[in-house]
């Protein structure tokens, strides 16, 4: 009986939970944007990269206290999100959906290249080393625990915002019937801009959490971008709850797969799982 209970397997499962929390935060922003505005920000991970660089730059180069740097990063990425919508998305909102995908893909290219231009291809570390937390024989990175906590907090705040406030209700409403929003006294354009800023802020928060665990470099978006899309599509593109569930499911695949095989195999299994689900239920778990 005791052979069945492998403490390291439990550790992997728990780590998977922690990872799931982070994924949930990542997918929240993307799903919000898609659910409300009906565009997929292919460059979402690159926005996060910008946030990570912002924290690095402000803290390491200008010696800002880390929390101040993080707050600034969140504001910066929120502004980036709003700017992205205003200058890049808005002109193509009435064009074919594929153009919207492509234009954000172009921004992906641009941001990666600009980051390389500005910071070079070296891996940059924020230089904060958090200790490990030991529970029995398992050890967990404090950074991961913190990330989970912050992600959970972020998700909770978003939940209350969307449920209780007028603006949040309007954001939910607009994805259900855009055409009559003016009759409610709501300017759709303004809601889109606000939602974009919100999506950016969530990306900024994710950036703060990621920068504690990983070094930033221009191509880092490629490591968590694709998995974020998959989580959103798996959960049903636009469904916040679906994305939440899918985040934890895929995180478990990755964590346990990585436990039994090598890390890449975990991701590989997760991706294959995704493709399989796409063929069984293309609209995703909670998609419409």
């Amino acid at each position: 009986m005791s052979e069945l209970f492998d403490i390291y397997l439990l550790e992997a499962v728990l780590n998977g939970l922690l990872l799931g929390g982070l994924f949930a935060l990542l997918s929240l922003g993307l799903n919000l944007i898609f659910g409300v505005i009906d565009v997929v920000w292919i460059c979402y991970a690159e926005l996060i990269m910008c946030g990570m660089y912002a924290v690095y730059w402000l803290h390491v180069q200008y010696h800002w206290p880390v929390l101040a740097a993080m707050a600034a990063a969140i504001v910066l990425v929120a502004a980036l999100g709003a700017a992205l919508h205003q200058f890049v998305i808005r002109p193509v909102l009435s064009a074919e959906p594929i153009n919207q995908l492509l234009v954000t893909g172009g921004v992906l290219f641009f941001l990666q290249a600009a980051a390389t231009l500005a910071f070079g291809i070296d891996f940059r570390n924020v230089g904060i080393s958090l200790p490990s937390v030991h529970v029995g024989e398992m050890s967990f990175s404090a950074a991961r625990l913190l990330a989970f906590g912050a992600a959970a907090g972020g998700v909770a705040v978003m939940y209350f915002f969307l449920k209780r406030t007028y603006l949040g209700t309007a954001i939910r409403a607009i994805s259900q019937d855009r055409a009559i929003m003016p009759l409610m006294g709501v300017s759709a354009g303004r809601i889109f801009l606000t939602t974009s800023a919100l999506g950016g802020a969530l990306a900024g928060l994710a950036a703060c959490l990621l920068v504690l665990q990983y070094d930033v470099h221009p191509a880092i978006g490629l490591s968590f971008g694709p998995i974020t899309f998959l989580i959103c599509v798996l959960g049903g593109l636009g469904s916040l709850v679906g994305g939440f569930i899918a985040a934890f499911v895929l995180a478990q695949f990755i964590s346990i797969g990585g436990f039994f095989f090598a890390a890449e195999w975990g991701y590989f299994i997760a991706f294959v799982f995704f493709i399989v689900v796409m063929f069984i239920r293309p609209q995703g778990i909670l998609g419409k």
């Binding site: 193509v92 064009a95 594929i98 390389t116 231009l117 490629l222 694709p226």
Partner: protein, 304 residues
């Protein structure tokens, strides 16, 4: 007359990437915008190189194996997608997953593939002989130019053939109105699959050419989202509805990189991509038909 090696190299690259972007646009222009062609290129490149490096199997055998693998993958992904009408955003994201699966597989099999560090085909060009037909390795760039040019022309021919055939009218209808097309009795899924297979195999061949010419492959250069996006953009920047559009896109990209390199030296290594990225965004917003497409429209407009 002898052209220097470097200009030859550039010409080869323009034609090679022109060919690859054209291969993508064979299905791209018909509404099947794939973000996963990196998978096919990667399968082509790695199958041939791995079979050569580990089993000494000549690329002449490696090529059919790569084709078979590509066809299988294209079918396994394409059939359910078209059958269950997975289109638009979802299709793009599923194909994106595909290209990442390919890249991850290559990296995960690092004991064989060398992982992220890449792999080099074992050279068969020792002792000064510039031609190794059995290994499909050639020293001379002129020879490569001829080979790549042949493929490029072949690619254009296929593009034209798909364009011309009855299938194309059907696919045009399909990409716009699936239900209507189906009701007229056009076998939608079969037609889409045919085009997908053609596009995938062409891209696979492009990967093989790349591997044998550059004599170096690595997972990020031939598979994954980055190269997949690059193909999409190259085709679109040049204009994917026009036959020579993708080639123009390839030429534009490479010449932009070259021009900036000459202007700024290697001081700003990513400047060309930054400008390229910005231009792409602007193109899609203001010139969705691409450079060549827009130029042709302007031309036609004036002529009338």
């Amino acid at each position: 007359m002898s052209i220097g090696n470097y200009p030859l190299h550039l010409m080869i690259l323009v034609l090679l990437w022109g060919y690859i972007y054209t291969s993508w646009s064979v299905m791209g222009r018909l509404g099947m915008v794939s973000f996963g062609h990196g998978a096919f290129m990667g399968i082509g490149a790695y199958t041939v190189v791995m079979l050569w490096n580990h089993f000494g199997l000549t690329p002449w055998i490696g090529i059919p194996v790569a084709f078979a693998a590509t066809a299988a993958v294209a079918f396994v992904i394409g059939y359910p997608c078209f059958r269950f009408k997975i289109v638009g955003h979802y299709f793009a994201l599923v194909t994106l997953a595909l290209s990442e699966v390919a890249r991850l597989l290559i990296v995960a099999l690092r004991d064989y593939t060398g992982g992220s560090l890449g792999a080099t085909p074992v050279t068969a060009l020792s002792g000064g002989s510039g031609v190794a037909l059995g290994a499909l390795q050639f020293e001379s760039k002129s020879v490569w130019l001829v080979i790549v040019a042949a493929f490029w022309l072949g690619g254009l021919w296929v593009w034209r053939a798909v364009d011309r055939s009855m299938g194309r009218l059907a696919l045009q209808a399909i990409s716009e109105e699936e239900e209507a097309a189906a009701s007229v009795g056009i076998p939608v899924t079969a037609a889409k699959l045919r085009v997908t297979l053609i596009s995938a195999l062409m891209t696979c061949a492009g990967g093989i050419l790349y591997a044998q010419y550059q004599l170096y492959v690595n997972p990020d250069a031939v598979s994954g989202i980055a190269i997949s996006l690059q193909m999409v953009f190259g085709a679109i920047a040049g204009g994917m509805f026009v036959m020579l559009g993708p080639t123009v896109g390839a030429a534009f990209t490479l010449l932009l990189a070259e021009g900036l390199r000459l202007a700024f030296g290697n001081k700003y290594p990513a400047l060309d991509s930054t400008i390229y990225g910005a231009l792409l965004v602007l193109f899609i917003i203001y010139m969705p038909k691409g450079i060549l497409g827009a130029a042709l429209s302007a031309f036609k407009g004036r002529g009338r």
